[in-house]
Symmetry: C2
Subunit: 669 residues, 2 copies
Amino acid sequence: MKRIFMVTAASLMVILAACQSEPASIATPSGGSGASTGALPSDAAAVAQERGLTPDDIYAAVKTYTPSGKTDPFIMIASGGQSGQVLVIGVPSMRILKVIGVFTPESWQGYGFGGSGNKILAEGKINGKDVLWGDTHHPALSETDASYDGQFAFINDKANARVAVIDLRDFSTKQIVKNPNAINDHGGSFVTPNTEYVVEGPQYATPIGWKYAPLDQYKDQYRGLISFWSFDRTKGRIDTSKSFQIELPPYWQDLCDAGKKVSDGWVFCNSFNTELATGGVESGNPPFEAGTTKNDTDYLHIINWKKAEQVVKAGKVEQINGIAVIRLQTAIDEGLLFFSPEPKSPHGADVTPGGEFIVVGGKLDPHVTIYSFDKIQKAILAGGFSKDAYGVPVISLDKSMEAQVELGLGPLHTVYDDKGYAYTSLFLDSAVARWTLGGPYADKHPEKPWTLVQKLPVQYNIGHISAVEGDTATPGGQFVVALNKWSIDRFANIGPLMPQNFQLVDISKSGDQMKVLYDMPVGMAEPHYAQIIKAERLKPFQVYPQVGWDAETMAVDPKAITSEAQAHIERNGNKVEVFMSVIRSHYSPEQVKVKKGDHVIWHLTNLERTPDATHGFAISAYNINLSLEPGKTETVEFDADQAGTYTYYCTEFCSALHLEMIGYFLVEP
Amino acid sequence: MKRIFMVTAASLMVILAACQSEPASIATPSGGSGASTGALPSDAAAVAQERGLTPDDIYAAVKTYTPSGKTDPFIMIASGGQSGQVLVIGVPSMRILKVIGVFTPESWQGYGFGGSGNKILAEGKINGKDVLWGDTHHPALSETDASYDGQFAFINDKANARVAVIDLRDFSTKQIVKNPNAINDHGGSFVTPNTEYVVEGPQYATPIGWKYAPLDQYKDQYRGLISFWSFDRTKGRIDTSKSFQIELPPYWQDLCDAGKKVSDGWVFCNSFNTELATGGVESGNPPFEAGTTKNDTDYLHIINWKKAEQVVKAGKVEQINGIAVIRLQTAIDEGLLFFSPEPKSPHGADVTPGGEFIVVGGKLDPHVTIYSFDKIQKAILAGGFSKDAYGVPVISLDKSMEAQVELGLGPLHTVYDDKGYAYTSLFLDSAVARWTLGGPYADKHPEKPWTLVQKLPVQYNIGHISAVEGDTATPGGQFVVALNKWSIDRFANIGPLMPQNFQLVDISKSGDQMKVLYDMPVGMAEPHYAQIIKAERLKPFQVYPQVGWDAETMAVDPKAITSEAQAHIERNGNKVEVFMSVIRSHYSPEQVKVKKGDHVIWHLTNLERTPDATHGFAISAYNINLSLEPGKTETVEFDADQAGTYTYYCTEFCSALHLEMIGYFLVEP
């Protein structure tokens, strides 16, 4: 069993600088089979020739093309990065079906422009101030028995340490939770195998509650904080009163994954600044990128959340800003936290389908290091640990490691298929590595265990990687998607800000036959991770179940009107309450008259029952736009502080007389 | 020459109600040729069979599939509707390359979260208040001699009557102009053939300046207002001081198009509420949808903008809220404005490539009505007009009309190709109609002139239609895109809010051989119109031309630092000015310390010169995120009103050590 680490930081920096100035050169895909059985329709053959398509291209085209009326069998849920949103993408057609508004207002879907979305966005305020964007990184679909159940999705906001809940009955955001004790995160969202908890792992250490402390107090004051947000599935909401946090050393924890099956009850996180570097290149210190990469290893964090639950129940916590926090010393004393060395500033802690192994991508080490949960358990029982500077027990690598596989430059993140293969992204090599698992997976594939099988070039510089149900107990195989960070020359030039490039990869054949099928530009987001679920698991509404449906409470609003006959206006002093019906192709009422300064409460109900019969509602100049799907009711409340003659109208093209669907909103001075 | 109008409003309403409850039934595409020459690679044949692809599907797949590294020959610029943005889409691959932030803040591209975008968005304030969304409808690419020149794009905001300028060197918004005299629009943006003016046509009448006036004063007080925004190409900005407006009757003008070639100097707009309906269904009046559709005809507006320029020069204007306005009576007296009847609540006034004809879609009449510019000119010279209720001269239909072609139910909008064909969207029939132009186009196609050639079913209910350069003097042919409004069953179910459906249509063959090639869901926007330009006309930057480039002024900022050695912090009382360099993979400085209450001015320069070497910059909790493309400089200014320990970090994945690219922002209490 080889263990190879980079020799010196200096030579490492030289290698990285060389790698970063040019992307890895592109290997052209291997030529296709060339054999000709079956017929290409004559006009298609002419087109293929005229367009210069190779046999591989034709294969890829027929593998991904989705005819009108046929739907994608898989749905990818991808983070939007600093767009603050979540993308919904059909696979294998690689078409964006929806961008869900989460942390950033989005007016097409009426999120944050007067309707119930305003209330949800306000849940994300920080010390009373709006923060109307987010940096979403890792979506987590809800799981039952470690497989996706298609009910909810969760997503984190790295920039501000917040977590959101998305309901997959209508693919809309229902809740935002602001972490009161952390101000950034990264290792989230991830769920425990029955979605008991939504895990939010920390990243850049700060004092708890991001209180001010000068950097020379880094070792004593700065901490990491991993959060276990308790999820109430019946309510569809995180319950902060049942949630807890564990204090960690300031090691810049990175990615986390929950154990499952044999490792159910545990969570694993990697880290990359055990050096405790605090930067300051301007003062002659090594920059962060050098200071944090000095050591040969950092620490894999091994956390027993099932036991932590008991510790919380026993009251061995400190209540900090309303959350139960297990202090670091308690975590150590109660045997909740263990470390094991991991090379080298790693990225990605990814648990295999049966929970037996945890795979860590070396990032600055060319290996993946595979840890055995069984060995870790044995080591914990045996005891006799060394300790880190904070007193956390350290399980030596020879006691925890199962294997290492040398893959190439920059291994980051690993997912799995149903044939015992693992797929790791190699950022610097700009490639996807397929390699074989060992142990109980050895019989699933023809190759030897713990062996690199193929390195497929991708364009360019892949970050995360996603496989069909590939981080669950029941991976689906068939496809993997490379979430490439640089697109460079892949797409027509549209200016200095280039899209990301998702590449769909065919993994349906064993051995070294992976191939890139399709380039998908992502030009409104920077996805970091994505999960791919079988579409059949999803059971969304086609229309809201009843007329008068409140999408925030996900129930009927008893005060909503349900017919045009009920439309009316109530006046009470300077309060004007409008009850408006919405149906093709008119509003009722069509004339709303108020006086300047009136406080207006405007309720609307879309009375339609036909799928796709969505109406919009916008009021000129008042920053109001709602999206009203069939059955939905919304309420917008505002002061009529601008006198004048305004129009409200339907913003979502609904009928032949859509342009005629308007009303006058008169504000008398 | 037939002229057929719908008989009664009542029977019309019955027909419309029936049409709207079910979409038009789908005709399945005709079977393919079946002939087999040329070879389908064996594995491709197996996949095609397994996936149930027809010969037509295979043709479509090889016609649209774009292999990695090959780029789209055409670029579609589409409005985003009530997303407030503009979409950039590659054709024929039908992939979104970018969503440009225009009227709505967008954090992925750093638009509206601290950088120069904030200043541009603030130009759109209405009476001092932020309106941070828009309803974009009709993009207009800049033109030279009536062909696209690839330099600028313009877009309107229907909801608030604003126009934006997008610079195609970096596909970013540079200016927003708020129309001070109108509060909604629709017939915009359109450009005159050398982009002398960006035209913004009105829609729902209000008093000028949207002053308050009760609806019983509709006839006397309410008006339409068409705006001619003067464009200074050298500065790349609209110059409101050289712009003018023309007052129109309150007829709800709808779509406009500029004359070109033989009709250069004129603009044509249709309208749809000459009935002067004011709604009030709640009070027993006919709803707007009935009141506005009562009459058999409305008025095509024929406007001489070249002559209007002279009228403005001669000072025969009223200055209203800073804009020169030609009052309605002056427009009549000076011979700037003429009407001609158009059936029936029409939509779409679309000028043919040589400028000879104006095609109006009947909407509630099954014909397109073709007006002859030559006939209109002759009628104007001959005189002897009747007048409308406002005294505007009316050219009778028999004097202005060249032809009518019966196409089907719900003709809306027409574009053109290079073979003398016209393509009209039929909303209610859910089809694209191909028909033949006459006059100088008669020889270009094999069929008789003014004849319907093919109706191609689309899915579903097409609104606008777009053709390659199809609204210019030099259409490119090859493709048309149907901008369908309802998708219903075309895509996997992702909840009640369904995407729109763009369908790419192959028009490369003459006769009745159009076919639908590709369904493209649009799930973050509701495009209304789009233009398709040949990619070779676009000359965007790959990186900004020099380090220290200010993307707002599109020039070097002389105060921007251009090297890491120049990075520093200046303190002056409670003002802290940071000059920060940004390059892989660190910022300098990496530690910024201020006191609570300090006023912070933070300049950043991306020193990279490599294409795609973009960095982000976010400050946790402060609602700040910037996108820094190679060479770009940005400045963000704020008060450090929250004490604590914050991090700033790179939000755009830039390198292997991207996660290490951070700094600490310490705000001492």
